[in-house]
């Protein structure tokens, strides 16, 4: 039991963060508004989870202006990709062995 959940990462425990990482690991980059629409979240909710993931170094952020409007895009870091894929494997193991 202990081995099984050893790779489960605390940071990915929320459904929203799983969602963010799912989108970011299969896409090169994703902007804030598209992420919000895809995951069907409010600005504040999404922003707080993004900040948490960024703080842990799982994702990286780039802010720029397109047509004078702020545009923030996000991508998964190498660390984030590895951690997320370990987390998924751990989840799958958990299902298989139960």
């Amino acid at each position: 039991m202990k081995d099984l959940i050893a790779n489960l990462n605390k940071i990915f425990e929320s459904r929203v963060r799983l969602g963010i990482m799912s989108v970011l690991t299969v896409n090169e980059k994703y902007d804030f508004n598209s992420l919000k629409e895809t995951l069907d979240l409010t600005d504040g909710n999404l922003a707080s989870h993004l900040k948490a993931l960024e703080k842990e170094g799982m994702i990286a952020v780039e802010k720029q202006f397109i047509d004078r409007k702020p545009n923030t895009s996000y991508w998964a870091t190498e660390k984030g990709r590895t951690a997320f894929s370990d987390h998924i494997s751990a989840l799958e193991n958990l299902i298989r062995d139960s």
């Binding site: 459904r15 799912s22 989108v23 896409n27 902007d31 895809t38 299902i95 139960s98």
Partner: protein
């Protein structure tokens, strides 16, 4: 193991998000059928005006515009019905990948028409349309890939037998789209 049902749901949600954020799945099957029927009607008209090059070009352009409009509106409707977003990073990527070969083929076709290389018009447009579909298939329903391959094969066939261009039009734009549309309609709904 009280987490178990949640874990199942989590994994399901993850898979769905990964798929939906990389593929545009709201492509309407019905619009394929409509495109096919429009192309068949166009082929019939073309047969009546077979000696007038520019009328033929006009008919072909009309078929293209009608088909694309239906594809757009029906896909938009399908996305709304499935409560999905239509204008997303992946749908933009799909359109970009579709229109680069398609526009190239369109421009080439016009150049050939102006230069009077009439027998190259149909094969080149079929081939570039096929390449456009193959290119776009990475970002939408995988079946488009095979439709694209078939269009390329028909295009090459018509290159070898230029006299059969109207058959290439009928099969490539008419029959194939109807079959494809019906298959998609049954598999994924309207």
């Amino acid at each position: 193991m009280k987490n178990e049902p949640n874990t199942h749901e989590d994994i399901k949600a993850i898979r769905k998000l990964m798929e939906e954020s990389t593929r545009f799945l709201s492509l309407s099957g019905l619009s394929g059928v409509i495109a096919g029927v429009t192309a068949l009607a166009g082929a019939l008209l073309a047969w009546l005006f077979i000696d007038q090059t520019w009328s033929l070009a006009g008919i072909a352009a009309m078929v293209l515009v009608i088909s694309l409009s239906f594809a757009y509106f029906l896909s938009l409707k399908k996305a709304r019905r499935d409560k999905k977003h239509f204008w997303t990073p992946v749908s933009r990527k799909m359109l970009l990948n579709l229109f680069i070969p398609l526009a190239t083929g369109g421009v080439l076709t016009i150049i050939f028409l102006i230069q009077g290389n009439l027998q190259l018009v149909m094969p080149v447009f079929l081939i570039f349309y096929g390449l456009a579909l193959v290119n776009a298939s990475k970002f939408t329903l995988g079946e488009i890939f095979f439709l694209g391959l078939l269009e390329i094969v028909i295009g090459l066939f018509v290159t070898i037998f230029p006299n059969l261009w109207l058959i290439g039009w009928t099969v490539g734009f008419g029959v194939l789209h109807i079959i494809y549309g019906l298959v998609m309609y049954r598999k994924y709904g309207k």
